[in-house]
């Protein structure tokens, strides 16, 4: 399974005047939804008696995330260490992850989260599946493996679709796929004893084109929602409640 080491959203600072976002003082963490993915992957690997490898591509500080991933149930971790200051977009990330997946032997299934909590780009999983030449199943909320077949339930708005495909396959999952339990004392202590490996990007032997970002972030600004600032201060309590309900219904919050 693939996970990403991101800045904690709650600790980003937005300059009130320029709306510039400063992530330098924010603590880092494993992207929230990836925690659900780790649990789903742990259960899936357990069901077929396979080893679960956690794979991350990120700067040197992502090392801290490795321990957390191991505590959450990954059996072994591989951290592809990005060069300091190098830019990565979906193209680069997918190439790096694909190269590392190929280096691991006998991979049957790769799980990615639908999107990371920082960029939410929805592209790493599908791109990775394409590079590996594997079937890709997205938006998955339930999965089971039987023999060489994967069965997955996909969320389509309010409907569910069940899909089957052969392994190896790539699946992107939504957070509902599994709960994300907080690791206990033994899991946390056990993490220190599990193997992990750091691989410099250069060791993957990728051509320059594969590790050069094709998109450039030109600005990163805080989005300040325009608030309606409606104050319902007049009238009896019943009138205020009625006005609130009517207002919420009008905005489509209540149906």
């Amino acid at each position: 399974m693939c996970f990403k080491w991101v800045a904690a959203e709650g600790e980003l600072r937005v300059d009130p005047a320029t709306r510039a976002v400063d992530a330098s003082s924010a603590r880092r963490k494993i992207s929230d939804y990836d925690r659900n993915t780790i649990e789903a992957a742990r259960v899936a690997a357990g069901s077929i008696g396979s080893e679960l490898v956690g794979l991350t591509f990120g700067g040197p500080d992502a090392r801290t995330g490795i321990k957390d991933a191991l505590a959450r149930g990954v059996d072994r971790a591989v951290h592809v260490v990005a060069d300091e200051g190098a830019r990565a977009d979906g193209h680069v990330t997918a190439h790096v992850l694909a190269a590392q997946v190929r280096r691991l032997e006998d991979v049957d299934l790769v799980l990615c989260t639908e999107g990371a909590s920082d960029t939410y780009a929805h592209e790493t999983g599908p791109r990775l599946g394409e590079l590996l030449g594997w079937p890709v199943v997205t938006n998955v909320r339930e999965l089971t493996v039987e023999g060489r077949t994967l069965r997955a339930v996909r969320v389509l708005g309010a409907d569910l679709e069940t899909v089957e495909c052969d392994l190896p396959a790539l699946v992107t999952v939504v957070p509902e796929v599994a709960p994300a339990p907080i690791p206990g004392l033994r899991s946390v202590l056990g993490a220190a004893k599990k193997p992990s490996e750091q691989v410099p990007v250069a060791d993957l032997g990728l051509p320059a084109g594969a590790v050069t970002a094709r998109t450039t972030v030109t600005s990163f600004l805080g989005y300040v929602a325009a608030r309606r600032r409606v104050v319902l201060a007049d009238g009896a309590a019943q009138d205020k409640v009625d006005a609130l309900v009517a207002g919420l219904a009008q905005d489509g919050v209540l149906r």
């Binding site: 603590r27 907080i182 206990g184 004392l185 033994r186 946390v188 202590l189 056990g190 220190a192």
Partner: protein
Amino acid sequence: MSEDTEAVDVIVVGAGLAGIACAYRLALAGRSVVLVERGTTAGSKNVSGGRLYTYALEAVEPGLTRAAPFERAVVREQIVMMDDDRSMTVSLAGPPAAAGDLPASVTVLRSRFDAWFADRAEAAGVMLATGIRVDSLLIEDGRVVGIMAGGEEMRAGVVVAADGVNSFLAREAGLVGELSAHAVGIGVKEVIALDAATIEDRFGVGPGEGAATLMLGCTAGVHGGAFLYTNSGSVSLGIVVSPDQMTASGTTTHGMLQALKAHPALRPLIAGGTTLEYAAHLVREDGWRGVPKRLARGGFLVTGEAAGFVLNLGYTVRGMDLALVSGVAAAEAIVAGGDLETAYRAALDRSGLPATMRAADGYADLMGIERLYRTYPGLVLDVVQSMFTVDARAPRPLRTQVRAAMRANHVPLRAVLRDGLVGVRSI
């Protein structure tokens, strides 16, 4: 899960300085140690003004100060007496330290410092478990045999409570009772970002050097004071006050801190800075009197601020250094074996901690003088101000000025004498 974490020699609860020092020394002595911390990283929950006396780091391991990621070496000590809009600063800068000398005290930011120290302990073999809250002790036949955390049980030969001020483990073990409001001060602290060159300019220090500033008279008459420490790229500004007098003062600790930031003596020092973090925490104020009669029982001992090892001396809070040396003493006692209480007391005595704390015992009386927090700063400012006032009139003798200032501040001479006596006796 492998067998070897099923039971370990020692479980240390709390990765503050006491806990890390204890676990580190135990690991160096070849013991298997689990260090449990509820914060997601060591230091993430720790609030300190941030002045650390380095003798204590050297007591953990010679040479540790040099290896530590401290912020600045303190080379300037300042005391500011203030009232609502006046201030008088006494600033002491020592002779330049000889090259190669260890600074006597340094400033630290706990999130960075504790994380580094915990990493070092891990490298020495300590098994660190962060993000885990210990819920209770496991007690069998009158002996502490382990801990419970999140429904999981873990056993150890000895459990060390290094869980900081208001230790519930020490309470559960029956070594201490409930904390009273008189026993603690409440501290609030802000870290304000400023670039290094600005800090060096404003505080008159060189690169890597810093200032430690204590402020009196800024607590609306409430027992307490404020501090300002320089870090590499920020300053730590905080106030420590007695909670039991807060309600009467009509303000809050937060309100006091904001008023202090706007004070003419302080505003220019922090101008243009942005607040990076804000935190509140308790700190023990009862000195040696607050240290429990028993520090250990079968399979259990208590160390650091959990054991009341902290000194609030008015001009400085010493909690981190005492945490370090007491953590070391706890480790030595466990390694020595035999009766824990006896071995621990002996190790503490060797460290000099009880003597240091007893020597400062009278400070509680000195700090108990109410007039210290509003009346005397005002009085001193009045006298000094009149000393510096020159006009066409013949100057009045100093003693007349002092008497006038005492009258204006409603302080009778016998009160000053009585307070003076308490002050002299206590130090």
